[in-house]
Amino acid sequence: MDLLASAVLHALRLLLTGDAETWQITLLSLRVSLTATAISVLVGVPLGTWLALVRFPGRGLLLALVNTGMGMPPVVAGLVITILLWRTGPLGQLRLLYTPTAIIIAQVVLSLPVVIGLTVAAIQQLNPRLRLQILALGATRWQYLALLVREARLPLLAAVMAGFGAVISEVGAAMMVGGNIQGQTRVLTTATVLETSKGNFDLALALGLILLALVYAVNLTLTWIQQRGRPL
């Protein structure tokens, strides 16, 4: 308990005294994970909606691939991205390895299947007759899709939360493609691992608490958006 109390005090001190490195790590974590989530949502929601509505040969295989991607181990994603971005790799010329962009790419690979898979489920749980009703109201193709997405907004926001949760808390891929470089690619999870390995448990715990608070704040906002105006 002493350790926990000390960690809480340490976390508060780091944030309230404006510890530059802590703030830099925190903001980088937030920037990287929110960017990765936003990209996943922008790509994943239309793709998931399309997958939910169309029928074509091989659709089942594609859905199984997406569902497999939802459980992809971060270290595997990290390894593949590292190989691709390696100096002599196919994308080595881009010189992205050990940059925040590399972490964003890895996190998109992790969160995109989550967003696609949950979007498919969200659209498919709508009453199929509602689709007919929307068409009968005279909706164009785009109005039809927009109305479907609006009707599925509650489970879609859950998809956003799951996508964000998948990336803000992962450490393996961020460590492998980011390199945990101080001042450049160190994020809350990689910093926590580093401090733990150095035996600085109170600092590691403080960073962990900041991470938890960050996740809570983002999910609180999304939950508020999801639940506003809904009676019990």
Partner: protein, 248 residues
Amino acid sequence: MSDQAPPSGPLVALRGVQVRRGGRVVLDVPALDVWPGDVLAVVGPNGAGKSTLLQVMAALLAPDRGRVWFAGQQVDARRNPVAVRRRLAVVFQEPLLFDTSVFDNVASGLRLRGVPGQELRARVTVWLERLGIAALARRPARTLSGGEARRTSLARALVLEPELLLLDEPFAALDYPTRQALLGELPGLLAAARTTTVLVTHDPYEALAVARRAVALREGRIVAEGPVRAVLGAAGLELGPLLAPEVK
């Protein structure tokens, strides 16, 4: 069929329409006309093809054979159905309301058509009042009772001032007093909207209360057509045993 001229006069005309499902013909209508101002009931037992016929008229389903005309224009439900759909309105068996307020539900079709805000508010308000749900305008649709939801879905259709209103068993699953109340109001609402109406029902009493003309379907084919009482009388002999369990 390709050189067939569009029938002049009827608002909706079907010629040689066939719909197949799984190799089986579920709708086979050689000719059917719905005239402007008509209130036509389509009666028949469950599985007779009534809802399929309604979906063909609504440009929601393209027939496998035959042609459909709306106001003299040929309808192609696969290629350009939106222009036709925007001239009609459909009320299905379930209210199928959006997860938003009653007002926004009623306004939804007008918004899709880009009706400006002031006109939209005025038209929605008129129909909320006519359906007796003005007090519920701000209520989330998911909190409505069955009767209130049905009134909202009727208002959503009527506010569009459609040339053709298609009602697919709109009072199914309602309790008796609510159904009777709505059934009593419907002729007045249709008169106020001055819209041609097709009512699909398996209930002869609904057909009698609302329609002037009727078509009886059985196994996808028209077995009687004409004034409601005559059709019910003629078809009742054949449909009686099937209709009887549904009669309340």
